[in-house]
C-alpha cells in the first residue's frame, strides 16, 4: 500500500491503527512518516473528545432554514435560468421542458458527431499529451508510473553488474512499482 492510501484510511479512522487492515498495518511498521500521521490524528481526536460540547442559541435552526429558503427563492441555478430562457415556465411543467430540451441536445450532438466523423476519419485518435511543461499542478499518474518503471529497470541493470550481486531471480519481488 502507498502512503496516500494508508493516510486516507487513517483520516477516516481518526488514527485508530487497530482498525486498519493487515496491509495498512504492515505499511505503518515500515513507514515512520505514516506512523507520525497516525499519532497526530489520534492526538487530535483525543483533544476533540476532551472539549465540552456547546449548544446553539434558541431558534437558531429555524432562522437558518428560513434564510436558506429566502436565498433559494431569489437565486435560481444556471440550469434553471437557461431552461427558463429556452422554454418559459408558462409553457408546461418542468419535466416536459427537460425532456424536450434533452431530445434537442441529443439531435444536435448526434449531428455534430456525424459531421466530425466524416471529416476526421484520417486524424490521429490518440489523446493529447497529459503533461505540458510548466503546467503547474497538473500530474499524470499513468505517465509517471511508466517513468518510474523505466528508472527501476535501469537501477536493476546496474545492480546486476555489481561484484556482489545476487542473481536476478532473488529480487523478483523486492522491487515493486
Amino acid at each position: 500500500m502507498t502512503c496516500t492510501q494508508v493516510r486516507e484510511q487513517l483520516v477516516e479512522l481518526w488514527g485508530e491503527v487497530a482498525q486498519l487492515g493487515a496491509e495498512a498495518r504492515a505499511h505503518l511498521q515500515q513507514c515512520a512518516d505514516c506512523r507520525r500521521e497516525a499519532q497526530s490524528l489520534a492526538t487530535a481526536r483525543k483533544l476533540l473528545g476532551q472539549m465540552t460540547p456547546g449548544s446553539a442559541p434558541e431558534g437558531f435552526c429555524d432562522r437558518v432554514l428560513a434564510r436558506i429558503a429566502e436565498v433559494e427563492a431569489v437565486h435560481l441555478s444556471w440550469p434553471e435560468r437557461a431552461l427558463g430562457w429556452l422554454w418559459p415556465r408558462q409553457h408546461g411543467p418542468a419535466w416536459i421542458r427537460v425532456v424536450a430540451m434533452a431530445a434537442v441536445l441529443m439531435i444536435l450532438v448526434g449531428g455534430v458527431a456525424m459531421l466530425h466523423g466524416g471529416l476526421g476519419s484520417g486524424m490521429n485518435s490518440q489523446p493529447p499529451a497529459m503533461i505540458a511543461a510548466g503546467s503547474a499542478g497538473i500530474t499524470s499518474v499513468a505517465t509517471r508510473d511508466e517513468d518510474l518503471e523505466a528508472m527501476v529497470l535501469r537501477h536493476q541493470s546496474l545492480e546486476l553488474m555489481q561484484p556482489l550481486s545476487d542473481d536476478a531471480g532473488v529480487h523478483l519481488i523486492s522491487y515493486t512499482y
Binding site: T2, C3, T4, A26, Q29, Q30, C31, A32, D33, I131, A132, A133, G134, S135, A136, G137, I138, T139, S140, T143, R144, D147, L148, E149, A150, M151, V152, L153, R154, H155, Q156, S157, L158, E159, L160, M161, Q162, P163, L164, S165, D166, D167, A168, G169, V170, L172, I173, S174, Y175, T176, Y177
Partner: protein
C-alpha cells in the same frame, strides 16, 4: 622506583596503544586471501554449474520479516536460468527466464513482461572480477569457517565495512562454489534479505524449451534499457544543463560514485542518474528539472518527491527510515 613507575604508568600503555592503532590502521582493508579467492570462484561459477533446487527468500524491514516466498530454480551452463516464484493456489506467481543472452521477467498478475538483453557472460564476469578486486581494497573480507546448508558443506565468507559492519555474507558450496545461502544487512547490522536453498540437486533433469520464453498473447512487453555511458559528474552536469543536488546524509558505508554519473533522456528532458554504492549494495537517485509538481510518494523501494526546481526519484534497498533520511537531506 621512578623508572619502574614510568614504565608501568606511561611507557607500557603507550606501546599498547600504538600497537592497537597499528592494527586498526592495517585493518582498514583487511582481506583474507582465502575468502577473496572463494568470492572470485563464486563469480566464475555463476552460470557455469548445472543444478536445480528450491530456495527461500525472506525480506526484512528494520529486523521484521515483511515478506517471504519460495522459488524453484533451474540453472544450466552456460548462463541459462529459470526461477519461478512458488505462490499459494490462486495467487499469481512470477517467472524469470534467461537463456544467457536475453532475460525475461514475467508478471502474470499485470500481464506484463520485461525483456532485457544481456552483455556477453565473459564480459560481465571480467567486469565483476575486476570490481571485486577493487572492493577488496576498501572492505573487510573474512573467512568464518564451514556450515552445512541443504546437506552440503559450505564455506562462510562475510564482507564488511572497514568499521566492521557486515554488508553481505555468503555460504558457498565447498565443491561447486554455488552460493547456497546469502544474507544482506542494513546499516544497523540487521538482516534485510536472506536467501537459502532448502534442496539442491547437481544432476537436474531439464525439459525442452524451459529456458526460452514467449510472452503470452495480450501481455505488454517492456524493453529494459541498456546501461548508458557513465561519465564524471561535472561532464554529466554540463550535458544535463543543471547541477546535481547531492544528499547530505548517506547510510553508513555508502559513497557517491562521482565518476559514474549518467544522463538519460525521459520525455524530452534530461535526467541525471546518480549512483551511490557501499560495495555490496547500491542505490540510485534520479534528478530532473520539475516540469510538473510531483506529489511525494513511496511505493515499495521507490520514493519520489519534489524540492526546489527539481524532482527526485530514489530507488533503493535500504530501509524506509534511511530512505526518508536521504530524502530529507536533499536541499537544493
Amino acid at each position: 622506583m621512578v623508572r619502574s613507575l614510568l614504565t608501568t604508568r606511561f611507557v607500557l600503555p603507550a606501546l599498547l596503544a600504538a600497537g592497537v592503532l597499528c592494527a586498526a590502521g592495517s585493518a582498514g582493508a583487511q582481506v583474507d586471501r582465502q575468502a577473496l579467492e572463494m568470492l572470485r570462484r563464486c563469480v566464475a561459477a555463476e552460470g557455469a554449474v548445472n543444478f536445480s533446487g528450491i530456495r527461500t527468500v525472506v525480506v526484512f524491514e528494520n529486523g521484521v520479516k515483511v515478506e517471504g516466498y519460495e522459488q524453484q530454480v533451474y540453472e544450466k551452463a552456460p548462463g541459462k536460468q529459470r526461477v519461478a516464484v512458488i505462490m499459494s493456489a490462486g495467487e499469481p506467481g512470477r517467472l524469470f527466464v534467461s537463456n544467457g543472452l536475453v532475460q525475461w521477467h514475467y508478471l502474470p498478475d499485470r500481464q506484463r513482461a520485461v525483456r532485457r538483453e544481456l552483455p556477453p557472460p565473459s564480459e560481465t564476469r571480467a567486469r565483476r572480477l575486476a570490481e571485486l578486486d577493487e572492493l577488496a581494497e576498501r572492505t573487510r573480507i573474512q573467512y568464518l569457517g564451514t556450515e552445512t546448508i541443504a546437506g552440503r558443506t559450505t564455506h562462510v565468507i562475510v564482507v564488511s565495512t572497514t568499521g566492521g559492519s557486515p554488508m553481505k555474507k555468503n555460504w558457498v558450496d565447498g565443491i561447486t562454489y554455488v552460493v547456497l545461502k546469502t544474507q544482506r544487512f542494513d546499516s544497523e547490522g540487521r538482516v534485510k534479505l536472506s536467501m537459502y536453498y532448502t534442496a539442491i540437486n547437481y544432476a537436474p533433469q531439464y525439459t525442452d524449451g524451459m529456458f526460452d520464453f514467449v510472452p503470452p498473447a495480450g501481455a505488454t512487453v517492456r524493453e529494459a534499457s541498456d546501461l548508458p555511458e557513465r561519465i564524471p559528474l561535472a561532464e554529466a552536469e554540463g550535458r544535463a544543463g543543471f547541477k546535481a543536488v547531492l544528499p547530505g546524509y548517506l547510510p553508513p558505508g555508502y559513497t557517491f560514485q562521482s565518476d559514474s554519473v549518467a544522463v538519460i533522456p525521459m520525455h524530452g528532458r534530461k535526467v541525471l542518474w546518480l549512483e551511490f554504492s557501499s560495495g555490496a549494495d547500491s542505490f540510485s537517485m534520479f534528478q530532473r528539472l520539475r516540469g510538473v509538481q510531483i506529489q511525494s510518494r513511496q511505493q515499495g523501494r521507490c520514493m519520489e518527491w519534489s524540492a526546489g526546481p527539481y524532482s527526485f526519484t530514489l530507488i533503493s534497498s535500504v530501509s524506509c527510515d534511511e530512505m526518508c533520511k536521504i530524502r530529507d537531506s536533499v536541499r537544493p
